[in-house]
């Protein structure tokens, strides 16, 4: 983490408004009883189903440090006993995508390739179906709107993990760029380019969301010190 040559910290022009998002699960109309049906449904399900089973499920399982990536991978392993496909799906990092269509194409592509290589696996019945769900999301303000770096770290330490997920993981779908709200603000408002980059590199798949919170706060505090 090389932040020694970081630009001087400047007073932010705009506060960082910590928001949070709360979601309600809707049960979808589609389900898959084997890998082939998963492949079909992945192509036709609503965008918010893809979002739910990839981005959103990370929030619901924010406490798991390793071994959980997305619902599709988990189902392929636990219900279909297809570890190869599960590994391939699990290797997809949602943060490489700034829109759901790209993520959907990637998932469909992985299952498509697997079915071509293992056609006999396509119709093997799963132990239990995969039920496609979706989220209805409500974004809420919090009481934290800091306009200083110490205030920012204080807010970071006090907001809920839903807020961290909202700003750090889901943000790229809003920003349509490979970044997050924290890095964006630190870079644009405070001039902390390297800190912003360090934050963007945090691995969400080997950390709990609480761990992500601590790492972001540590990076900013190092800069302050």
């Amino acid at each position: 983490m090389a932040m020694a040559d970081e630009h001087p910290v400047r007073k932010p022009n705009k506060p960082f408004y910590f928001n949070t998002s709360e979601n309600l699960l809707r049960i979808g109309r589609q389900k898959a009883s084997n890998v082939f049906e998963l492949w079909q449904a992945l192509q036709t399900c609503p965008d918010d189903s893809i979002f739910q089973h990839t981005f959103r499920t990370l929030q619901e399982h924010h406490f798991i440090r390793q071994g959980f990536s997305n619902d599709f991978a988990h189902w392929c392993l636990s219900a279909c006993n297809e570890p190869v496909l599960a590994e391939q799906l699990a290797s997809v990092d949602v943060r490489e995508f700034t829109d759901i269509q790209g993520l959907r194409r990637r998932m469909v592509g992985i299952v498509d390739e697997f079915l071509q290589q293992h056609p006999q696996s396509g119709t093997k019945p799963a132990h239990e179906p995969f039920y496609f769900c979706a989220s209805s999301i409500v974004v809420l303000p919090t009481q934290f709107a800091p306009d200083t770096l110490p205030g920012f770290t204080d807010g970071l330490r006090h907001v809920s993990l839903h807020s961290i997920h909202h700003h750090f993981i889901e943000a790229r779908l809003r920003l349509h760029r490979m970044s997050n709200d924290f890095s964006n603000w630190l870079e644009q408002e405070v001039g902390l380019t390297q800190a912003a980059e360090s934050i963007e590199r945090i691995d969400i798949y080997t950390n709990t969301m609480e761990g992500v919170r601590h790492q972001i706060a540590s990076i900013v505090e190092q800069t302050l010190n």
């Binding site: 949070t20 709360e22 979601n23 309600l24 699960l25 809707r26 049960i27 109309r29 619901e60 399982h61 924010h62 406490f63 798991i64 071994g67 959980f68 988990h74 636990s78 132990h127 239990e128 179906p129 039920y131 769900c133 209805s136 409500v138 809420l140 303000p141 919090t142 009481q143 006090h158 907001v159 809920s160 839903h162 807020s163």
Partner: protein, 462 residues
Amino acid sequence: MKAEKQPATIADSTTGSHSEAQAAENTGGIVSPESVPTERRAKPRPLPASVLTPPPPAPSPRLDDYRDIIGEAQVDALRFLARDLKGKSIKMVNSTAVGGGVAEMLNQLVPLLRELEVETHWDVITGGNDFFEVTKAFHNALQGSDYNLTQHARDIFLMHNEQNRNRLEFSEDFIVIHDPQPAALIRARKESPQRWIWRCHIDLSSPNPDVWGFLRPFIEQYDAAIFSSQSFARQLPIPQYLFYPCIDPLSEKNKDIDDSFVQHVCDEFGIDRSRPIVTQVSRFDRAKDPVGVVQAFKQARKYVDAQLVLAGGGASDDPEGAAVLKEVKEAVGDDKDIIILDLPPWCALEINALQRASTIIVQKSIREGFGLTVTEALWKGKPTIAGAVGGIPNQIIHKLTGALVHSVDGCAYQIRYLLTHPDFAAQLGQNGHEHVKENFLMSTNVRRWLLLLRILLAGGAK
């Protein structure tokens, strides 16, 4: 049978004592004080008072009571969510004011919504024995039992729903009808912005087609339906939402308790805390496979030292429960490390203590609703082994928040593994606790209700 190794007492549900006939049936680790000669039996210990008489009802929790559990930010989020609902009113309608999971849930939910300034009313439908016999049959049929739906049963159902429609007022902004019994109250719907929600607490995955065919036209008139698991839902033309059942972390069953009380309960029941304790808490019901638990425990104990506690109820007031208990006793034989407790329903605090004393908790169900005993175990941070049925896979992610099993052999293996890998077991317990905190607490349910009301208010349904 050595006196110092007698580990258990079994309490009669009403008196705490045993008849000679019952005593004669006892085998193995079940110790009936009257059945064993004085010189060969452990000195009977008085049972905790709460086992003998129901405790007074606990006061309803307040929102601020949850701050230490879910954090200030989450309580603030509830208040933010409720802000746009001020001035709106909601009516809950179900079929019973006391007893049963729905009434218990409403007793906790209604005061919390009121505290958030969402005006919440709760009405209970009335009906004669004929009505409740029909609705009980509907309840079982909707969960897959055979049933011959007659015109007479339809008429009784509709007549009592009509009487309740005339008796009750439906002037609130949101009307929430719980379960099938009052489902036909949707006929009271007026042409207004009023939203009607059907909250289904039962498993509709394989309903009797006649009964479901009769009820479905009513359900389709609602603005939204709520189910407890994805797998419990039906294909419907209205939006369907997922509300997991939940536990209250402040209830007697789940609140933090002093370790001295845990020790006291173990002492009373003859449980040795210096040795591993494997526990299943469930009524004596074949769906919970208590005999399978005994078999799995006996297999596992060839490799590891442990005691098994089967804490349940229902054997005294249910003929099938008594039969299952007898089967369990036979499976136990003369095994002194298996302790059977037939507890009355008000022993929430004792159950809490038994769960907290446990090294591992098992719920080896072969059929299950959502499985709230699993939720309770996970909340207490206990490594949990459970059958992969009903709503249990929503709670247990295999090898991440617990262990899912499909057989006696699988259960036996997981008992062995978790008892000999305490670090892994502790990690499962910790993850399980967080999973419950995120998804299965009463506060989460309050959040879901507020979200749903806001979404419906914004025209999110239909």
